[in-house]
Symmetry: C2
Subunit: 560 residues, 2 copies
């Protein structure tokens, strides 16, 4: 690699990652999946957009041959292997076993119905896909069925967390089914690869039994062995670096094994991830390092490179996308409603289940890309599959909210603005502090300051709102308000809010909610209490020098 | 990349990393630097050993051309950029400024003396290096001087931590000097690259001013800007993924910039690391993820690939190695003793300073590799520099211990064995527990059980050793003992050891030390108290199912 090549490589990776992350973050704000932004980044700097506008620059930044191209492709291939390793780590087999029968029934229906729909469509209407008749129609139909049947565990888990459903019984059933579907989906795909694998290393009559044997061994003996060995590595190697390296090394070597026997490397990495992720000996700290680094760096890089490979505008086929989308959604929803009847769920729940499992997200995209690489599908079908994967993921959360009648819990950050942040409260007593915060809240919401003070003070006199640990939360409901308003003030010297622990309040929140606030006040109070229960968070709040620093601390408390 | 290539790539990375980490961990046990093991791994699977024994296998695993070779080389180049980014993050500029004058004086002498020695050697005895007279002798002499002058901050920091000197005043002076030396060393090297850079992008009269301007801007305005922007990113992006990605993206882009202006990419990554690492807004959690992942995965991979490039046996020159080693050590030690006189340190301290700064570790290896790549030195000189780098790092710790009369604090794990671990104490009272543990300790050390019980019980009667939180530490000094012996017993039901908090003891350590124990008892007690102060650690100790699981928890507590 020459100096020029190396500059190109660094800029290419840096720019791709920067755009992918930026778009991912932007979309996350609108509750859209980050993977959509990451793929868009590739589309923008790939042949679809930049290649049209400035083909010279595009070819210079992302050359189609030469050492930069080889390194970037190699990196993307490694990235997808590591991404599947992390996806496997999220799989908790015990969740699945605990709800054995329910999981099994729902899984069978929620996979078989869309699988049969997809298979039939591909088998009976090959012309829709412009399918080359010389290819193997059976393999193609199997593949399309699998694409329709698969679910995306990471997206589903994320949606459930957003909706506060993750730790409910209903949420756990969904997760268990998604795990089962993931495992089955990849097994079927391994079978497909084995079918087309003739000549690539092993004959099919060996690849399929080898794959099944490998999966069985890894999920039983391998899992047991890893669980037994982890404490030894923890005891005898640098921590957490030793376990970290062990995980990655074995993920790569398991990937090499499955690639060698004729299915893809992601299969081995995924199953090894399941096996190691299941062990309670893998500590949270080590998990976090692996997950954060791979999902913040390698995964966006991989998804962004997809846009570099395919021209999305050229291969976009509206009819195909619409048909596939309709079949995908119908399959999952019908399958789930049948299953829900069998296990005795309500109609509402069956719709919720259907919309939840309908997310195909990253998994279908990876599957589609491999299908493209192995020549099972063409670019048109690939583009359609990507659109279906993203579309089903996008509608999943909102539709679940709708049919289950759920709301996301409200957070303080959403109602706080730079105008309602008072970095230094001048007042020396509680009434003065309430007045100063009321001014800020009134200015931001158009209310009358005096009325706010009156309402809040009336509430304060009934029962003091000093909740201890130096935090006070004066609040009131205001008839004129349409949405909640929160103001926060910092008082370095502390103001007596008559807290039980006798501590003067240093962080004071003023919370105004509408008369019909539908639980907003409670949720905001709960959020404040949870965030500032932490002594570090309180100290950082006192040291924040401006609104952004204060917001930063809320965001950290959020994800921690 | 074909399927076969991808298998090779996965196996090559997996095997290289596995061997590098295994040897690194092995050497760490003998207090040798891990980087030595990582380089040895490359030497073993590279042309030096495997290439001699099984050239066919070696060429198949690590091909010298083709996509696997290109990807692996590209990955190694990225890895060294990221390694220098992390090295920069460890640099704390305020440590340097706080001890301004002392740092400056020691730095000047500790760099200039070895630099002059190295420069003169190269200039006056080029034949020693088999220096090609057609090359640029001035550049070569500058380069060799820099190699003699540089220190390795990470190795030095690690040695100081091992010796419990890191948080002392003396330790901070050493760190400050090492930081200054690192900065100067890389600046000089940037100058050298600029000198030989004619035709590579920019002319030298532009590269040098550009580099200096870049360094100045990054360490002042850039640093300020990063510090100002971090809270915004923390507040408005996913945490910690957003900051993680930001750090890596900017490290790569800064690397691209310095590579483009004609010095190497590592320079930009290093300086950006300094700038971002200095900000208190970069939280510990994010730092840990970056540092652990890069230093556990990318750094070993980079150092291992060095052995793939060069045949170390073929290019080993005993005379050259000996001369360079002597010049390197003499330069640092003389320089430091002169400096120590100027700032008023004792002779002992000046020797300690000299041995500490004599570690060249990873930094000189990176420098040597770049010198080799840019054609400044040949393989013989490169191999000699690697040996000097490793040799000076290895002798640093032991020699400092010797001249400063230091000992490492003793840890429990060192004195505990499988034979002295009693997973389930059957006894119901303290005397019974002491007897059972005494049996285990006596069996392991050859003492008489009854004498041990007598001594420990005598101590116990004077003052009970229940230290609360369910931990008890009966102990005694034994005349017949040469080294400490520790036994530990777990009692799920708890045994009354008369603790202040009234809790029965569930984890009981029996500690026997020699009469002249030189502080061993105290250090072991302190270690137990620190480790088991943590409620998690206590719970894990109770749940440990065997000796290895118990040891694992000690090791985690250790690095956390």
């Amino acid at each position: 690699m020459t100096q020029g090549d190396f500059v190109t490589l660094l800029v290419a990776i840096g720019a791709l990652l920067a755009l992918a992350r930026t778009l991912g973050e932007l979309l996350r704000r609108f509750n859209l999946p980050a993977v959509l932004g990451e793929i868009l980044a590739g589309i923008i700097v790939g042949p679809t957009v930049l290649g049209m506008l400035a083909p010279g620059l595009q070819a210079q930044l992302f050359p189609a041959t030469g050492p930069v191209h080889v390194t970037l492709s190699g990196l993307a291939e490694l990235a997808v292997v590591l991404f599947l390793f992390v996806a496997g780590m999220e799989v908790d087999l015990s969740t699945m076993w605990e709800r054995g029968r329910t999981t099994f029934v729902i899984s069978v229906f929620s996979m078989s119905v869309p699988f049969i729909l997809g298979f039939s469509l591909a088998w009976h209407v090959p012309a829709l896909f412009e399918f080359d008749i010389s290819g193997d129609r059976f393999v193609f139909a199997l593949f399309l069925g699998t694409c329709m049947a698969i679910s995306a565990l990471p997206v589903i888990a994320r949606t459930l967390m957003d909706l506060n459903l993750f730790h409910t019984d209903f949420g756990m059933v969904i997760i268990a089914v998604a795990i089962f579907n993931d495992l089955c989906g990849w097994l079927i795909f391994a079978g497909i690869l084995a079918l087309i694998g003739e000549g690539r290393g092993f004959p099919v009559r060996m690849t399929i039994p080898l794959t099944l044997a490998y999966a069985a061994v890894m999920l039983t003996g391998g899992r047991w062995l890893i669980h037994r060995c982890l404490p030894w590595f923890q005891a005898h190697t640098a921590w957490p670096g030793g376990i970290l390296a062990l995980g990655l090394i074995l993920a790569l070597l398991n990937g090499a094994f499955t690639e060698w026997i004729g299915v893809h490397a992601i299969f081995g990495a995924f199953l090894f991830g399941v096996a190691i992720g299941d062990s309670p000996h893998l500590r949270q700290h080590t998990r976090n390092i692996i997950r954060e680094f791979i999902s913040s760096i390698f995964a966006p890089l991989f998804f962004a490179t997809i846009g570099l490979k395919v021209n999305f505008a050229l291969h976009f086929d509206f009819t195909l996308v619409t048909v596939l989308f309709a079949f995908a959604c119908a399959g999952k929803i019908v399958g789930c409603s049948v299953a829900a009847r069998v296990v005795g769920m309500t109609a509402r729940e069956s719709w919720g289940l259907g919309f939840a499992l309908n997310s195909r997200g990253a998994m279908e995209i990876v599957l589609g890309l491999l299908g493209l690489q192995f020549g099972i599908i063409n670019e048109r079908v690939f583009v359609a599959l990507v659109v279906v994967a993203l579309g089903t993921s996008i509608i999943s959360g909102p539709l679940m909210q709708l049919v289950l009648g759920l709301k996301k819990p409200r957070r303080i950050g959403r109602y706080l603005t730079g105008r309602t942040y008072v970095g230094h409260l001048a007042a020396g007593d509680s009434l003065g502090a309430i007045r100063q915060l009321s001014q800020a809240a009134a200015a931001a919401s158009g209310l009358d300051t005096e009325e706010v003070v009156k309402a809040v003070w009336a509430r304060e006199k009934i029962m003091s709102t000093g909740i201890g640990d130096g935090v006070a939360i004066p609040h009131a409901r205001m008839r004129e308000l349409a949405a909640p308003v929160v103001a926060v003030g910092i008082s370095p010297d502390g103001i007596d809010f008559n807290a039980r622990d006798g501590e003067p309040a240093r962080i004071i929140f003023l919370i105004l909610t509408p008369m019909r606030d539908e639980g907003a006040q409670l949720e905001i109070l709960a959020d404040i209490s949870r965030t500032f229960h932490n002594a570090d968070a309180r100290e950082q709040a006192l040291n924040a020098r401006n609104y952004t620093e204060f917001l930063a601390l809320l965001n950290v408390g959020d994800s921690a």
